[in-house]
Amino acid sequence: MTTYVPTSARIRLTRARSLIPPLSTVPTAVYIGVLLVIPGVSLILYSFYTSGFYTVIHSLTSANYHEVFTVAVYWQLLLKSWAVGLIVASIITVCAFTMAYAMRFSLGRWGPRLLILVMATLLSSYIVRIFAWMTILGTNGLTNTALHDLGLISHPLSFLLYGYFAIALVLVYVYLPLAVLPIYAALQGIDPRVLEASRDLGATRLQTLRRMTIPLAMHGIRIAFAVSFIFAASDYVTPTLVGGLDGQMAGNVIQDQFTQSGNYPLGAALAVLLVAGFPVILGGLAVTMRVLGRAGARIPRRSGRRHHPDWLTRATDAASRVPYAGIVTGLLMVFLAAPLLTVIFFSFNNSPVPGLPFEGFTLHWYSSVFSSSQFLSALRTSLEVAGLAVVVAILLGTPAAFGLARRRSAATSLVNTVVFAPIAVPGVMIGIALLTTLDYSGIQGGVYPTVAAHVLLICPFVVLVVRSRLTGLEPNIEEAARDLGARRMRVFRTILLPLLAAALAGAAILAAAISFDELIVTNFTIGAGATLPVWIFSQARTGLTTAINAIAVLLFGGSLGLITLTALLLRLQRSRRLTDTLLAEA
């Protein structure tokens, strides 16, 4: 037997290889990198420029940062935004883990269906759903009315709407479905037999959860936390609508500096600091968790079984049989469904105001929507943009997900950073930078530039979903197929594609939902034209009518129809595959 001794040349080669990113990730990384380098570099440069009148004067200064640090309003807003982001992300991560856990391990075949329902809550207009929260939380809203009628309160609870409570609640609502996805994907990769083995070896449910399930799903949990934190801390639509005068966040000021006040350098300095805070805070948390984990590991554990009194053992056993995850998931589903149900109910309201009071049943708003040429034109544009963007994002994102899931190299983390960077850059900055780049390139705003922008925004989500699924798939299957002589393409077509079909469908639906609802960047790139969110937001100027509820319901219905069709096609494909296999065996 000869012992393999790596030569120094081999070691160098291996090291050099590890620096090369997986080839399949290159197109995505280049695409995102190029489209992001412009906003990224301009964001930083802007922050050092001097403000002109809705322009920048190209003389370098640190005055913008000085202003942020010396005007209390600004640095306090940054701190508040990070704090809100952390609180919201913590709540979301706990809720999302509970839901994903129930879907994966407690609810059997209802689990995946529930996941679809959770994702379906994303599929109607984001703005309209936030308006629905105002109907629920307002002074004479559904919550206050219900509490009053039950005799629990004598005066309306004023803290429910307009303030940080409302911001946190609505942000949890908005980003919870997005966080469920990576955790569910991570839990899918856990073999239930491993958990059973843990129980068989005497671990309690809680111990199994703490020592097995959570560590094994930690990758998905981290992604869910980071994405929720970044999105929540930089959100501006939610604070604008439900924050009131007492509940503002940095995203609002950044947005206003670019679109209202015209002080781009100050907006850029705030954006740079907000974004710079994300890796610092997330990194700090990671280090803290690691230190706490090590400290925890050093605590000597008591050996042997502890003897509890009988009543305590019985109570613990009884308590452990309560399906907590299922119950909490049920409550969270009510929480997620409430605004949607409100929107549906009030879409039949015979009142021009899209909320309370309910003044009778009518179908008028549905007919008014279909007779609106503005709506139909905006819908057409939205479908065109979302359709094209999803196709391109799937084509770019899927190979990238393969590269990131199947090959580890030093360059992988760099590619990873690039691919997910669009999530961290405020949308308003991407929008402004793309607008000015279009200007420079002589390209008019319109559908194609908007598609290019949407691909940038949705590609990370496609990579996220597909990569999570791939991580859960055993690479040995592919290797076995290759060993048996199958070519790469055949392995992909006959093994990976069927296994990935559901994930790809899920990624496409998620990407379509995000693209269909995107407002911030689209507002700058669509030029003369409008997608549905741009049009809906523009309606606010002359007073939103109940027609927006009808639009949201129609969008939701249409999206559900699309999901059902996709599910049926996947099922058909699966049964065909089964038939083919049986025929081949026969």
Partner: protein, 383 residues
């Protein structure tokens, strides 16, 4: 001017790839990237004096193609589009947003925004002077709007009035008595029960009226500005939220607010339709004129003139008044307003509720410039 480029807002793939290639090529070099950045936010519009040169009435009347309009969706009516032409609309939600959205020359041919932004648009070279002899319907406008100084600068006309309106203080008459003075708005009953729109120009102007500065509401000296902003600071405990225009009727309907100021146009009617006994008082009221502006880099100038002419005609005015519920500039179209909004005489109403000129953009004038108004508002909202 001939419709030499018929941009429709979209490109075919070949053009897109070609132009994207140019853009990408430009970005590839670090030196050129600096140029991109340098171009960002810079005003690169062509000279503002050339837009209508060479244009004749005949060319305007026979203009075809697509005209790209940026404005509020309420003003978008099919009656404004001349036969044989198409209109492609982009929308803005705040007044100031049009400045960002028109950064790219050629992105729009026509713009609809208040005359109070004349100084801003001129400073940024975004607009072209308008030759009213090319607009046959110009003579049909109420003389007040033809003669108004707020659309003129340097001896030229820069905007064509399209609709007008006035601001007012709206309140829930079932809950509070009619406010007759500013002091009434400071009532403890109104603590966290007042809504303000996210429009610094409108809010600060209204509070300047409350401060007794109605003659100088848009030309505030630093000390006057301080007086007004101190009033707004003192008013803060009353304010529940700073909302988007159009949101106020929902706020009333939910009983979140009892007072909104300044409300505008049809707001009180929508609030009434939501079951609230909405009334309004002209305390702190003043008027504005929403106008058409021809962009300096318009690509279909003849089409823009033809569209604009049609939009100020009676048929289009009747239609846009009905959809936007904004007051028309052609008196005969007042009949399109709901009864509760109709008025007998435009001039009398405008004399009572004067149009405001807009805030200076000059930083070397004795008055507080627009930029300061905006920055102060940002800090007020965020504090």
């Amino acid at each position: 001017m001939e419709n030499h480029l018929d941009w429709t807002g979209t490109l075919n793939r070949r053009e897109l790839l070609g132009r994207a290639g140019r853009g990408a090529g430009a970005v590839a070099g670090a030196g050129t990237l600096a140029s991109v950045i340098a171009a960002c936010g810079s005003s690169s519009s062509p000279s503002s004096s050339t837009a209508a040169s060479g244009l004749t009435l005949d060319k305007v009347e026979h203009a075809t193609g697509t005209v790209k309009v940026l404005g509020f969706s309420g003003y978008q009516v099919p009656q404004s589009t001349p036969p044989g032409m198409t209109a492609k609309w982009g929308y803005n939600t705040t007044n100031e947003q049009i400045i960002t959205k028109t950064t790219q020359p050629g992105s729009f041919d026509l713009l609809i925004i208040t005359s109070a932004l004349l100084g801003q648009l001129l400073l940024l070279n975004r607009i072209a002077p308008i030759d009213v002899s090319l607009l046959p319907n110009w003579s049909k406008l109420d003389p007040f709007f033809r003669n108004t100084p707020f659309i003129r600068a340097d001896g030229k006309i820069w905007a064509i009035p399209q609709h007008w309106g006035y601001n007012y203080t709206q309140y829930n008459a079932d809950v509070i008595p009619p406010p007759t003075t500013y002091q009434d708005l400071l009532s403890p009953k109104l603590r966290r029960k007042v809504g303000l729109p996210d429009d610094p120009y409108a809010v600060i102007t209204t509070f300047a009226f409350f401060a007794g500065l109605s003659k100088d509401a848009n030309t505030l000296t630093p000390s006057q500005f301080k007086t007004v902003t101190n009033m707004l600071e003192a008013f803060r405990p009353q304010v529940l939220t700073i909302h988007q225009y159009g949101e106020e009727n929902q706020l009333f309907a939910r009983h979140d607010i009892y007072v909104d100021l300044p409300s505008y146009s049809n707001s009180f009617l929508l609030t009434r339709q939501a079951g609230i006994n909405a009334q309004y008082t002209l305390l702190g009221s003043w008027s504005y004129i929403d106008c058409y502006w021809v962009m300096a880099a318009a690509t279909n100038v003849a089409g823009a003139y033809r569209y604009m002419n049609q939009a100020i005609g009676l048929r289009a005015q009747l239609a846009s008044t009905k959809t936007s519920l904004a007051n028309p500039v052609v008196d005969a179209a007042v009949t399109s307003l709901p009864k509760a909004m109709q008025y007998p005489n435009t001039d009398q109403l405008l004399a009572k509720l004067p149009v405001q000129p807009g805030v200076t953009v000059k930083t070397n004038s004795p008055y507080v410039p627009f930029q300061m108004w905006e920055q102060w508002w940002e800090q007020y909202k965020s504090a």
